[in-house]
Amino acid sequence: MRSVAGTGPRFQGFPVLREEETTVSGVRVLVGTRKGAFVLSSDGTRRDWDISGPHFPGWEIYHLKGSAADPDRLYASQSGGWFGQLIQRSDDGGGTWNAVGNEFAYEGDAGTHQYFDGTAVPWKFTRVWHLEPSLHDPDTIYAGVEDAALFRSVDGGGSWQELPGLRGHGTGPSWQPGAGGMCLHSILLDPRDEAHMTIAISAAGTFRTDDGGKTWRAINRGLRSEGIPDQDAEVGHCVHHIAAHATRPDTLFMQKHWDVMRSDDGGEQWREISGDLPTDFGFVIDVHAHEPDTVYVVPITSDYLHVPLDGKLRVYRSRTGGDEWEPLTRGLPQEHCYVNVLRDAMAVDSLDECGIYFGTTGGQVYVSPDGGDTWAPIVRDLPAVLSVEVQTLS
């Protein structure tokens, strides 16, 4: 794989498929970085890539995501320490962008949660970590924020309302931040009924609603975390990411601080599936687009050393839904590699031969067009990658 900026079809701003290309499958990879957004486009072969960006240069782009209901509708979370949070929206596949609503006000008395030192501090909005568009309505989108809360917009991002039942969960005052902040980073919408949602917070755990966000339950039974006094407490677990396959929404996969976990009953009970992984610390986890029992993780050395084990960048794949894992190394650096892969920085496409993508804090974005068997960098020298999403276009 190679970057081909300067050759092949070029587009202004974000790439937009030309008319004659609209019948050809392709992919659009949305990359959020510490210093802007990048869009990587290719046809179905995923061999040659067009790279555009940086968009919003100089800003932290924690996440971008396209609507499944309208692939031309994209949303981006743009933030920075100086000037705060913005949400950008594109209605033309990224050709143009407009800032929409950026007011994220907690409902009612914000209350307090625990700080790192165990003291109570007021809830304070910092940034949007994750944007999750509705599967059916391009104007409806959910935002997971720091300090942990869930917001929803039903007007294309123009205005945001908190779903306060989550933060108002009785355990809320005991939630505490992980090292990255007290972030709501994962939002899974049940394709059978979006009133069913599962979210995850670092470091509180996983929560589920079955009534569109009015009420929530902690679903952390089976998790054990050495970093909290009661290792199997109802909440307090540092969940790094969760994923599910669209055809099996009750089967959830989790990369916890330590431990890779699985639930087959919508989170009612979890079991560890770390199996023969060389280390079960990590951030990302994702599921093959066509094989619900094929799961990917990137093991990271430990909680105090956020680099690949032994300097070898290895994706691990389980074809058995966990427990048995194989290292995937072809095309990935197997010496002197000391990057991290952050929690939202892995994605899969849904082409016939499923493509797997991930980005690193060293600025590389890798693709495997064959389900993980072989890998190649799409681009090597971006700013630190915060998130990777992919749209499969036809």
Binding site: F83, G84, L86, N102, A105
Partner: protein, 102 residues
Amino acid sequence: MTTHSVRVVLPAHLRVLGRVDGEVVLAVDGPVTQRSVLDALELRHPVLRGTIREHGTLRRRAFVRFFACERDLSHEPPDDPLPDAVASGAEPLLVVGAMAGG
């Protein structure tokens, strides 16, 4: 009520965001204060709401500074008059991103 023509210089990020080139010139009615200037700025460029002042409280964001006439006005009360030279348009109000790394 007197209308003042006030010049505001924005940092690069906010110029891009507000799609403005160079200085912004605002018509400010009544006393020229941080609040009245920023109110006029946000009215002209709604996209800047929340970027200089926090939503709700309208407090200056921590890493934003206000300079004018070679003085740091960041910690002045928002309803205090800005220097006459700013009110007259002789000098701009500078909105600055604090030197805090980057």
